[in-house]
């Protein structure tokens, strides 16, 4: 079997799964199907909806009361669809590896999607077409592998987690649709197909965040996510159009080979930089970076498996994937900036010329800001959400310093430990009947040991403890940042690493250690989750330990970074004068940086442990700190009030106020003019009518009256007396004679 032939089948399975699950669910829940399905309260039961859900005797985990029609169908169709994708993905990747050794891509074109005819682009007038085509190369193979695997694990997990939810079928339909979209995104052979997946995952994100749609906050969060993503997509589209205008194609092969053979043409005037920045606007939307990050924490309104799959492991990394995919553009933009700015490059100059520098700065700052917000959150999922934003910042930082391999490596390792953390938090929430506030947790270590252990492993991984996955990737990014000449960004990122270790251990301490602080009746019910949930947890935890070893730093083991070697074919070679001089760092420096970051992580862990688990009064120390810096705490706790500012300025200000203003304008001015014309016409008609009656008709009537009067006068003559007639005749004859005499 050839890899190319079977490539398109991978997304087909989840698509079929979506259709089957969706239709079965609809038929089961509609009157069309002739069934009186339970249509009562949707949603509820889980933590995401707990605000309105009394944490009373829970309705899950102890035998369901909810009758879910066709549950088995949904379970098997849903998980098999994802599982088959995974199996196919493995087979396709293996055969691709056998065929090409991973050195070149395979592309399958299915059909012409959008033919736009011949158009004059910026550098020629080619036929513009967009094909539906899929591509397998190291980048997409990497994404394909972990997306299908983690996706399948989360499907299995959901069988347990969502087992008592009435919308079970709907949930699996959406999840399958998500898999389809995500696979389209990673397999797309051109930017437009990537965009199809990009929008598709956005839709699924919307549907799944708003899954508990009877709750207003969930529906709001879903809409917010979609609209924020659309703002990003606007940028993406501009980048896409710029590519169309430049190359006449959006096909990766065509674009990248054009740029890499002739970078000077496309870099001139900063066209490539514009394209990169536009695409990066898209990435900030999808991957929740400043300024478009605020939707991601709200997205936690969705069920926890969704948070794990979409809002941690896969979808949100799509922005990083896209930037890494378009690495040639960013590299050319960087080189062009250096050539244009010369030696005296200022920070401002770099920000306006070098797209990759913008990516690095946005990534670094986002990582830091999100981490500080994470310090003060008490909702377990919110902490993880900000942590995700922060880690995504790291990935962009890596890409921004042109270490695309490092950025992608962090995408890969992060998928494992963050999915594990989210699923772990789901397991905690499940055990506590929907409780999400860490202030009402504590001491759960002994009650839910599997959850505890797997989460601890994942926490160690994200904190950057040597030997675990997060350490390798984060260290690579930090090292590259410093070596590529960005000491400030390095310092920011290193500080962030310390914060990460701190807030993650704070989370573990608050959840699993100390005294239980929630209501007693809940404690009685605390139970470990079923195997469908713990097995995926353990698989992910093992991954969180092992996957980092794919990329052992080259300075420790020469050639140890097999990950970068694997990805290498995805980074096209540029002409020598467009290739940066490799920065060589001494081994001592590299070791120094590594130990530095280990030390910072250690410090963070140590601080968190002291803060939250020391002595008889575990909360005394944090309270003191809060009291010492009340304003700082208030700002961090309230996420710097960014949400409120956006709400005031954009949502209520520009859009709603603006819309209302325009509506008034429309009704009063634009339509006012039309109605004014009407009134004017009617008014003029009245005037005309009056004029008509008075003068025109007056004239007519006047003529009539005159005749009538004349007639009357004439009538009087008709008296019937012969003398009278004779007189008139005589007078007439006399008059005629007079006229004759005068004029003759």
């Amino acid at each position: 079997m050839s890899a190319a032939d079977f490539l398109p089948w991978i997304p087909v399975f989840p698509l079929v799964g979506f259709l089957v699950n969706g239709l079965v669910y609809l038929v089961a829940h509609s009157k069309l199907g002739g069934k009186d399905a339970p249509l009562g309260a949707h949603g509820g039961g889980h933590g995401e909806a707990h605000a309105a859900h009394a944490a009373g005797p829970d309705d899950h985990g102890h035998g369901g009361h909810v009758d879910i029609p066709f549950k088995a169908v949904h379970t098997w169709v849903g998980t098999l669809a994802s599982g088959l994708s995974f199996v196919f993905a493995l087979l396709v990747i293996l055969s691709w590896w056998k065929e090409t050794g991973g050195h070149r891509e395979v592309v399958t074109t299915l059909w012409t999607w959008i033919p736009m005819g011949t158009n004059a682009g910026w550098f020629g007038a080619p036929d513009f077409t967009v094909d539906v085509a899929f591509r397998l190369d190291p980048l997409s193979a990497l994404m394909l592998g972990f997306v299908t695997l983690i996706g399948t694990l989360i499907h299995v997990y959901s069988v347990g987690y969502m087992g008592h939810d009435e919308g079970y079928g709907r949930f699996f339909a959406y999840l399958n649709l998500f898999m389809f979209s995500m696979l389209t995104l990673v397999l797309g052979a051109n930017l437009a197909i990537l965009f199809v997946g990009w929008e598709g995952v956005g839709l699924c994100s919307y549907l799944l965040i708003g899954y508990y749609h009877t709750k207003d906050f969930a529906a709001d969060a879903g809409k917010k996510a979609f609209v924020m993503n659309r703002i990003g997509d606007w940028g993406f589209l501009m980048g896409l159009f710029a590519c169309v205008a430049m190359f006449g194609t959006v096909d990766f092969n065509g674009m990248f080979s054009a740029v890499s053979t002739n970078p000077a043409i496309y870099a001139a005037g900063g066209i490539v930089t514009f394209t990169c920045l536009a695409l990066f606007v898209g990435a900030t939307g999808k991957s929740a970076q400043i300024p478009l990050y605020v939707w991601l924490p709200d997205a936690m309104a969705g069920p926890t498996p969704v948070s794990a799959l979409i809002h941690a492991a896969t979808m949100v990394t799509a922005g990083v994937y896209m930037v890494a995919r378009c690495n040639v553009f960013f590299r050319v933009s960087h080189e062009w900036a250096l050539k244009t700015l010369g030696e005296g490059a200022t920070v401002w100059g770099l920000l306006t010329h070098d797209a990759s520098f913008v990516v690095a700065v946005v990534g670094g700052v986002t990582a830091f800001v999100a981490a500080t917000i994470g310090l003060a959150q008490t909702d377990i999922k919110k902490v993880l959400a900000y942590s995700t934003v922060s880690q995504l910042g790291y990935m962009f930082l890596g890409c921004g310093v042109l270490a695309f391999g490092a950025g992608m490596f962090h995408v890969f390792t992060h998928a494992w430990f963050k999915a594990c953390l989210f699923l772990g938090s789901g397991s905690v929430i499940h055990a506590l009947s929907g409780e999400q506030e860490m202030t009402a947790m504590g001491g759960l270590r002994s009650k839910i040991p599997h959850t505890y252990r797997t989460m601890l492993i994942a926490t160690l991984a994200i904190a950057g403890v040597p030997g675990l996955a997060g350490f390798f990737s984060k260290d690579l990014i930090l090292g590259e940042t410093f070596i590529q000449g960005h000491p400030f960004l390095w310092a920011l990122a290193a500080l962030t690493a310390g914060l990460t270790a701190f807030y993650m251990f704070r989370l573990v301490k608050m959840t699993f250690f100390g005294e239980y602080r929630g209501p007693k009746e809940t404690w009685e019910h605390v139970h470990e989750s079923p195997a469908t949930m713990t097995v995926p947890l353990w698989i992910l935890a093992i991954g969180a330990v092992l996957v980092g070893w794919w990329g052992i730093p080259n300075f420790i083991v020469p050639g140890g970074n097999r990950f970068e070697a694997f990805l290498h074919p995805a980074f096209p070679v540029l002409p020598p004068d467009w290739t940066p001089h490799p920065h060589h760092a001494s081994h001592a420096l590299e070791y120094g940086l590594m130990f530095g970051s280990i030390a910072i992580a250690g410090l963070g862990i140590l601080l968190a442990t002291t803060f939250f688990y020391k002595g008889s009064a575990p909360w005394a120390l944090p309270a003191k700190v809060v009291a010492a810096f009340p304003n700082a705490y208030r700002w961090v706790k309230n996420k710097y009030f960014v949400d409120e500012a956006y709400e005031t300025v954009f949502v209520n200000g520009l859009v709603k106020k603006g819309g209302r203003l325009l509506w008034e304008v429309d009704a009063r001015v634009v339509d006012g003019l039309v109605n004014g014309v009407r009134h004017l016409t009617v008014g003029f008609s009245h005037v005309s009518s009056w004029f008509d009656k008075t003068f025109v008709d007056g004239a007519v009537n006047g003529v009539g009256d005159t005749f009538q009067a004349a007639w009357k006068g004439y009538g009087k003559l008709q008296s019937g007396q012969t003398q009278g007639y004779a007189f008139v005749m005589a007078a007439g004859a006399f008059a005629l004679v007079c006229i004759y005499i005068i004029f003759a």
């Binding site: 009157k31 249509l39 011949t118 158009n119 004059a120 009877t214 207003d216 659309r230 710029a242 003019l673």
Partner: protein, 544 residues
Amino acid sequence: MNGLLSLLILLPTAGALAILFLPREKTGPIKALATAVAGLTFFASLPLWFARGFRESAGFLFREDLSWIPSLGVRYSLGVDGIAALLILLTTLLSVISIYASYTAVKTREKEYYIFLLLLETGMIGVFCALDFFLFYVFWEVMLVPMYFLIGVWGGPRKLYAAIKFFLYTLFGSVIMLVGIIALYFFNTTGFLWWKGLGNAPTFDILHFHAIAPQIPPDLQLWLFWAFFLGFAIKVPMFPFHTWLPDAHVEAPTAGSVILAGVLLKMGTYGFLRFSLPIFPSAASTRWVQLTVVVLAIVGILYGSLVAMVQKDIKKLVAYSSVAHLGFVMLGFFALNNAGMQGGVLQSINHGLSTGGLFLLVGIIYERRHTRQIADFGGLSQVMPVYATLFMIIALASLGLPLLNGFVGEFTILVGAFLADWKWALFAGVGVILGAAYLLWLYQRVFFGELKHEENKGLQDVNLREVLTLAPLIVCCVWIGVYPKPFFAMTAPASAKIVAALDAAKGAPPAVAAALSPAPAAPVPSATPVVPAAALPETAPRGN
């Protein structure tokens, strides 16, 4: 297949006549007959889809040509190119759907209602078929009358205001267009004012005017362009001529809204494609003219979207979204390149499908609750899951989600706009964000949240008939979204011809014209605008 177009024009009228003889209390047979006739017309129009000729050349097929008023040179001349054929297919499809959708919505004067709907169909098909200005104008006006009655008799509370506004506003535009037509007529023959005539035999043949387009002096082109512009811009409607639309939509019965949005607005865009652009290419490609129209289009997109955002009535929201969508269409046309033109044509069709669908959906809920206020709903997805799903699909199509039709059109238009001037795409692209915002916000307020209103708890989900009215639209939405190639192929030659004429008028290097003709290279037009060989119509200008 000569006579097919006449058949399409006459079938609905024949049906209307037949209904005339049915007793008015027999509503069952009336409905059945109306549906059957409309269905038959739809099937009769299918050969247009399968005709290969549209995909091969820009010529007019299915020609019919009979003398009508010889002294004036008026002929009964019919023929369609790919664009007109596609619009006719949309018309026949939407007609049968709107008749089928009216079964329970209309309960008074049913006989007259279906007669008017069928007469309307005749008028609409006639407009798309006519190749004679006189005939075109007759159909153009004929179409107004049934619509006037549909709104005025079966409409909502302010139906008379809306009907009269619709009628007068449109008539105002058409009369100015008529002046333009007459001016063209005299320019072709004797000339008028200071414009020397061409001295041709009197004719109203549209193809003849296409052919003499390069001979029309630029100043006359400008005057006539604006005369026609007013007629079509009101019909489209472009900002700021749009205010008749929300009133007409809100007051019209569901079927009226569907036809109005789906087909009648396309008369305007069709007018630009058939007349304004090919007959006055040098006016249309004058920079300030192009800029004016583009700015109006972009303002329409942003303005329509923002105003849609704050509407309280669902139908009004959809009506304003139409203003935005049609802004996209016009932006595409006046990008004056292939991508924009093709995208604009496709988006005309897309708008008919998705906005038509939205109006049908609003009608469904209106029939049940007799209100369209957004505030009266909320949580409907709990009682009407199938309805909610269908609404979601159509809304997503309308907001331009990839793999549904709206995206393909908007994408192609924006590519065209970007190529013409990237800043246009930058601004117009904001409409894509706003589109998502107002539709999802609407969806949230209608379908999500708790079921707050007692009246909504017992709502029935859609029935089979309602699903059947929506199913063809959804199938088309997915079809165009996933595999739009046949649609593009059908309109490509015709729109490429228009672009070639515009390029020739601009004196631009005929990159596009060269690609059109199989010949190695078309002659580069020099200072005097010359129509390249490929842009000439197939029929030589006839004397009479």
